[in-house]
Amino acid sequence: MKFIIAIIKPFKLDEVREALGAIGVAGMTVSEVKGFGRQKGQTEIYRGAEYSTNMLPKVKIEVAAPDDLTDQIVETIQQTASTEAIGDGKIFVLDLASAVRIRTGESGDTAL
């Protein structure tokens, strides 16, 4: 099992969710996050006071997947979330030791 963390541009979320749904991903966790990378920040001006914000809003998607689906998921996210501009985000893949479905107590791939 793998644990996939993807940081993407917020407006790409719906597209990514649909594409993942189409290849059989049954669930995911989404959070609004802030961060910075190579993309420059923005300047906000309030009554002449300038604030440059270098933390930009992003969306973090977390998906736990069986090994055989992992490559397809990563590829789908990469292709769907890309705008070919800096700031499109990153995808991280981690090994996942175990998973348990709380309702039934099932574990392993069947819990995903």
Partner: protein, 533 residues
Amino acid sequence: MGPVMGRVPNTALGRELTRTSEKGESTMIRKILCGAGALGTSLFAATAAFAQEATTAATEAAAAASAVATEAAATATETAAAAATTLIKAPDAAAMAGMVNKGDVSWMLISTVIVLMMSVPALALFYGGLVRAKNMLSVLMQVFMIASLMGIMWCVVGYSIAFTSGGDNHFFGTLDKAFLMGVDSTTFGATFSNNVYLPEIVFVVFQMTFAMITPALIVGAFAERIKFSSLLIFCVLWSLVVYYPMAHMVWYWAGPDFLADAPTDAGLLWGWGALDFAGGTVVHINAGIAGLVGCIMVGKRTGYPKEPMPPHSLVMTMIGASLLWVGWFGFNAGSNLEANAVTAVAVINTMVATCAAAVAWTLVEQLHHGKPSLLGAVTGAVAGLVAITPAAGLGAPMTSIVLGLVVSPICYLFVASIKPKLGYDDSLDVFGVHCIGGIVGAIATGIVASPALGGQGVFDYTVFPAAFDPSTYSISGQVVTQIKAVLFTLAWSGIGSAVLYFIIDKTMGLRPSVEEEQQGLDLTSHGERAYNM
């Protein structure tokens, strides 16, 4: 029952309308009829003379015509004199009761409640949106509590200090009406027209809303870092030492039916001839300078200016500013105390000056930063409202637009350039918008009130009935008077406020601890948070 109160002299338009509609209607009609009669007779006579081609006859006819005309004129004069004598000098309460107009009363009660709306929620939301989310409730609570406390204070002593005669003391009134003693539904207050009265209670509650919002304006200057209890004590003392006396000095006078007999029975600045239609000095300069002194004496917010402190909800700020705009019609046009043509002048001036100032601020931002911001537009609108306040019923629509266009760049300069250079932390720009905008408006009032520029001019209330002579208005003279009034207000409120801040700082302390400030005043002062999401 004596006269109660006063305000800047009213205008020609208002007075003329009042007279013709209420007192002189029949006189006017008769004048017109008499005139037509005389004209008709002389035309008839002239035609007859021409037909007869007889010099003698013509002369006779002309004489006859002129006799008729003279007679008509005499009748008109007589009628006018008769109408004038129907105005009662120094009426007693029983007579005043018959001089109350239901339209005026309705308008003033509506104005009263919409001025309350300016404090809560308008000002509270306008300010609240501008602070960080952790201090949202503290600002709302400060404005709400100040408004509530000041309402009580106004009944206890405020009204009495502001609107009773001080005799030879022109700085403040007496305690004769403390606890509203002697004020009930059978007492009346003067307006700006001879023989037009309001129930005194109407005036008390209308003016109460001004006393409620003025100290609340100050909180923007030291928002996010003030101790709640100290703030309330400050506001109570400030209203006693600064606001009530200023209101007395600018707005108290004996009233149009009484001033002729007691020409010195007026507040100090009123006596100077300073014009302040709805509170440029008493409300905005007064609160604005108290804000500046306050933000300096309280000190900067922890982290200012290094830490970003962006507004947490400009949506709230926009809602607040828009409600302020609506409420301001009660503030400015209600200050005419009657529902007449001058009231309408104040409404249109308040409307267009605000439009112009919002446009001007937006343009300045577009030129300076390349982006027109919503915060800029609404700040400009408030600056325009502030600037038109002293001139509302005195200027004309087009001069009001010019005033609106002028005030925004000046306020912008203070807010965006001078404030950062001098380094004081006026969190929400109370000084830059209210004090500077108030000063621009107060001085400009001396210009736009000129009848030569379509303004309403000033009335001479030292004669009975009040007289209006537009030719006596001097722009330069009035501007000098206005500047004197501005300087006096800056000094009175600046010094008075500084003393009060100093005393409170040494006794109770003005600030919460740094930890409390960093955690946010909502949790540390009030034990709740604005958004539980």
